[in-house]
């Protein structure tokens, strides 16, 4: 599969665009201005903002002749499938509580705080099975002679990784032991089929497309039963997190004498590199590289692979296999890169993509670039995919199902701590159902399920600082489809959100999505079904706590409820600008469907705000539609 059409990937010349200089200047300014800032108006803490929001919500509900219990959706509009995550039902039942969740993830500092295991619920095969004593004994013997050579850190890390690998090994996982070879192959083929799009689809006849749809439907039907034993596979993420918190909390000490050490294991080669610019070509199990600008050109055949790379410094280039079938299907991976401006290029199913397994990519420093196709950059399906980047001005580009994407029984997290980042999703697979000139994204804090057979997962994109740009096309930016949970939470910085449809806190078909912005002067731009829009018994929320923000949409946006959905937009502080084209279905709009109402709640709690087009004015209340209300205070 070729790379995304948008991309011009060149990993050979890492970009140095004064990111460090900017950081130093910013830090200096902060130190100089901090005392002045402290003596002036102190911005309210988020919890205060949310308290005032709660009061406004109650007022808006009273003006709709409603109470909080009315804002509820159910898990049983259709027969519940076995893959519904409990947290999805929780937030369906009380959708406004998702605001607290979206706020809380911004305070997290460690992966454990996400409590991924509990996000995946209780309905699962038990996941943890310690390697049997024979394996443990063998592992211990493996490094017996090398302990002195490798040093304590590396030896301990290798043992930890080997222990992890035994736990990830599909043959050791009790859920998979019941599968025949044929059934495993079916899972691989079936989910590959469900997760792949074809750029040629727009040229197919109506009968070919129908045939494909029927074929996929039959596969989905089969997979519903077949995946029963795979539930909770993602819970092995605990083992990854444990290792990251212990052996990889700081860079391991690699003794000079350990360099160029290698060892063959059941899972492939273990290699310790050196500080020169190394090229790792082919199939590896563990690589620990102490330095140098390295090139990782990884290649695998088959499925169930595991790859663990610990790179201590250097501007590195990572390239992953681009085949149709993921070699990491059933397997796992962990990449921890401690330093350097790195470039990661994958096709699909890479860069923190857990597919019936777990995959973690943690880049701790540098201005990094991430390029992928589909199911990448923090994506999970019957598993967990995490992409964490701690600092630097980073660029994320992908086509589809990416950047915090949760599919069935999966959690996908993209977690960026700092820097001015750019997120782009789309540009490759046309949305031929709706448009001849727009592309599917389904990314950037997006959850997705197979309607009506399999509920979606949890997609989280969390960005803690920096002036960021988010660009998607159809479906994205804190949104979801079919019994999932899509969250995009951004903590600080002046951010830009651009999308076309089903985005920026949109939820379509019995699901929940939220775009949560804590601070900064932000700009939101979308065509429709966006900016707090819930369609078909779904809740879509856009909450912005602070900053002078601009909202721009064409129709069915800015707190629009459609087909018994809830659309919610709340802006707590700042002088804001709201622009819409349609005055029929925006800004606190609720339309009737199934003979009763959809709900739209628009709240702006302060500032001298400007309104263009549509209903609403500064310092007024309005309720032009029967089930919709707008409040500007």
């Amino acid at each position: 599969m070729a790379g995304p059409a948008l991309l011009g990937v060149d990993c050979m010349e890492p970009s140095f665009y004064n990111g460090r200089m900017k950081y130093l200047i910013t830090a200096l300014m902060f130190l100089i201005l901090a005392p002045i800032g402290n003596s002036q108006t102190v911005a309210p803490a988020p919890f205060q903002a949310l308290d005032s929001l709660q009061r406004a919500i109650d007022m808006s509900l009273s003006s709709l002749k409603m109470h909080r219990g009315d804002l509820t959706f159910r898990g049983d509009y259709l027969e519940e499938d076995p893959y519904r995550l409990p947290i999805v039902d929780t937030y369906m039942k009380e959708p406004l509580k998702i605001i607290d969740f979206a706020d809380s993830v911004l305070t997290f500092e460690r992966l454990t705080e996400f409590k991924i295991r509990s996000l995946l619920g209780n309905k699962s095969s038990e996941v943890k099975r310690a390697p049997n004593s024979k394996s443990a004994e063998r592992d211990s013997r493996l490094f017996e002679r090398a302990d002195t050579l490798l040093g304590r850190d590396v030896s301990s890390l290798l043992k930890g990784l080997l222990y992890l690998a035994r736990g990830v090994d599909p043959d050791n996982w009790p859920g998979f032991s019941g599968y025949s070879r044929f059934q495993r192959d079916s899972l691989v083929e079936g989910f590959t089929l469900l997760l792949e799009e074809n750029v040629e689809d727009e040229f197919k006849t109506i009968y070919q497309l129908d045939s494909i749809a029927q074929y996929e439907d039959r596969w989905a039907e089969r997979l519903v039963k077949l995946t029963e034993n795979s539930r909770g596979r993602g819970k092995i993420v605990d083992e990854f997190i444990s290792l990251l918190d212990s052996s990889l909390a700081r860079p391991p000490m690699v003794p000079a004498k350990a360099r160029n050490y290698s060892l063959i294991t059941d899972y492939g080669d273990i290699v310790i590199g050196d500080t020169s610019a190394n090229t790792y070509q082919g199939d590896f199990f563990i690589i620990i590289d102490p330095g140098g600008d390295d090139t990782y050109n990884l290649k695998f055949t088959g499925v169930g692979h595991q790859i663990y790379i610990i790179d201590l410094s250097g501007h590195d280039s990572y390239s992953f296999p681009k085949g149709r079938i993921s070699p990491l299907f059933f397997g796992g991976s962990m990449i921890v890169d401690f330093k350097g401006d790195d470039c990661y290029t994958g096709g699909s199913y890479s860069l923190g993509a857990g597919l019936f397994g777990v995959s973690v990519l943690w880049d701790k420093a540098g201005n990094d670039r991430y390029y992928g196709d589909a199911f990448t950059q923090g994506a999970g399906c019957f598993g967990v995919g995490i992409l964490r980047d701690d600092s630097g001005n980073d660029s994320y580009q992908a086509a589809l199902f990416a950047q915090g994407f949760g599919f069935v029984d999966g959690v996908g997290i993209l977690w960026d701590f700092a820097g001015n980042d750019t997120y782009i999703a789309g540009g490759r697979y046309k949305d031929i159902l709706r448009y001849k000139d727009h592309y599917l994204s389904l990314s950037q804090g997006f959850a997705y399920g197979i309607r009506p057979k399999m509920s979606g997962g949890i997609g989280l994109l969390v960005d803690k600082a920096g002036n960021d740009a988010y660009i998607s096309d159809i479906f994205g930016q804190g949104s979801s489809y079919w019994y999932g949970l899509g969250v995009l939470s951004d903590s600080a910085g002046n951010d830009q959100y651009v999308s076309f449809q089903y985005a920026q806190g949109a939820a379509t078909h019995m699901t929940v999505g939220i775009l949560f912005e804590a601070a900064g002067d932000d700009v939101y731009s979308a065509k429709g079904v966006s900016q707090g829009c819930g369609h078909d018994r779904a809740a879509g929320l856009l909450v912005d706590l602070d900053g002078n923000d601009s909202y721009n949409a064409y129709d069915l946006s800015q707190a629009a409820g459609s087909a018994n959905g809830l659309g919610f937009l709340a802006d707590i502080r700042g002088v804001d600008a709201y622009v819409v084209r349609s005055d029929q279905n925006t800004r606190g709009f609720g339309q009737p469907r199934r003979d009763y109402g959809s709900i739209g709640i628009f709240i702006d709690l302060s500032g001298r705000d400007g309104y263009a087009g549509g209903v609403g004015h500064d310092s007024t209340w309005w309720s032009d539609s029967k089930w919709g209300v707008g409040i500007d205070q």
Partner: protein, 303 residues
């Protein structure tokens, strides 16, 4: 468009005629249905003509279409509904049979379509399933009965207004809004206190639709409202009924301490539209400070 549809029919039916019997019809139906249920933007122009062509096939197409009702695909369900509406009454007997199907999607879809067909011959069949174990089916059947609008179903609808599931109760309230039956007034007033807004709003609409027979009970209820939200609904109903007997209570409410009640009363007084009602609104406008009430009064004045 009609010409296009006719061309389709002739082309496909003549192709089918080359084969024999049900198989040939099935081939034609299958082919047309693929087009009729497409939501692909590239084939948008094929959809409506294909639906119309299927509609023209009439009763002959029904058995094959009924088979397709097993679908779980929303676009196919919608296409089936649209096509059955075009076929009309000839489809009713087979759709009633499908209500007893073991396939839950199929039977719920049958109820939904029968509601759209609004054919009174389906009432007896639908009534058999008002106590179905599946709340989705109960709600669908009650909803369909409401759309058909046959009085024989009213007792079952009133019974459903007390169903344990709020979606069924919502369907019941919606269904009752199709009848101007004074015996529904008291149960509907009780339903204004339902915990779910779908029931409350629909009951309010039903009471508004009943008209004059509802006035006296609503006036009485306004004197001793059960709870705040039902009180708000009663104020709205008073406006919808636009009876002069509501003037006095509404004037009191528009000057009360509850800004939301004042807002709804302002709206209701506007619907009354009498000189006295407008005078009360003007007087209130002079002293009103709450933005919601102000916006409601201004909306009345501007309209």
């Amino acid at each position: 468009m009609i010409h296009f549809a006719a061309l389709f029919s002739i082309l496909l039916i003549s192709t089918a005629a080359a084969q024999t019997g049900a198989d040939s019809i099935n081939v034609a139906v299958d082919s047309l249905f693929v087009r009729a249920s497409s939501i692909n933007v590239y084939y948008f122009e094929l959809v409506q003509p294909s639906k119309e062509a299927l509609g023209k096939m009439g009763a002959g197409a029904v058995p094959r279409l009924v088979e397709k009702m097993r679908t779980q695909d929303a676009r196919e369900m919608q296409a089936l509904e649209d096509v059955f509406k075009l076929i009309g009454p000839p489809a009713v007997p087979q759709l009633v049979d499908v209500l007893g199907s073991e396939n839950v999607y199929r039977r719920r879809l049958a109820a939904r379509i029968l509601g759209e067909l609004k054919d009174s011959s389906s009432v007896e069949g639908l009534l058999k399933y008002t106590n179905d174990d599946d709340f989705r089916m109960r709600g669908g059947v009650i909803s369909a009965l409401g759309k058909v609008g046959h009085k024989r179903a009213i007792p079952k609808m009133r019974e459903a207004l007390r169903d344990q599931d709020y979606l069924v109760r919502t369907s019941a309230a919606v269904a009752l809004s199709n009848f101007k039956d004074s015996s529904n007034v008291i149960p509907l007033i009780k339903a204004l206190s339902d915990k779910y807004y779908g029931v409350r709003y629909s009951a309010a609409l039903a009471l508004s639709n009943i008209g004059k027979p509802a006035v006296r009970p609503i006036v009485d209820a306004l004197k001793v409202p059960g709870d705040t939200l039902s009180y708000y609904q009663l104020i709205e109903i008073a406006g919808n009924l636009a009876d002069p007997r509501f003037l006095e209570p509404l004037v009191k409410i528009v000057n009360s301490g509850d800004p939301f009640a004042r807002a709804f009363a302002a709206e209701a007084l506007g619907k009354l539209g009498s000189e006295a009602a407008m005078k009360a609104l003007q007087d209130r406008y002079e002293i009103e400070t709450h933005p919601l009430v102000i916006s409601k009064i201004e909306a009345v004045v501007l309209n």
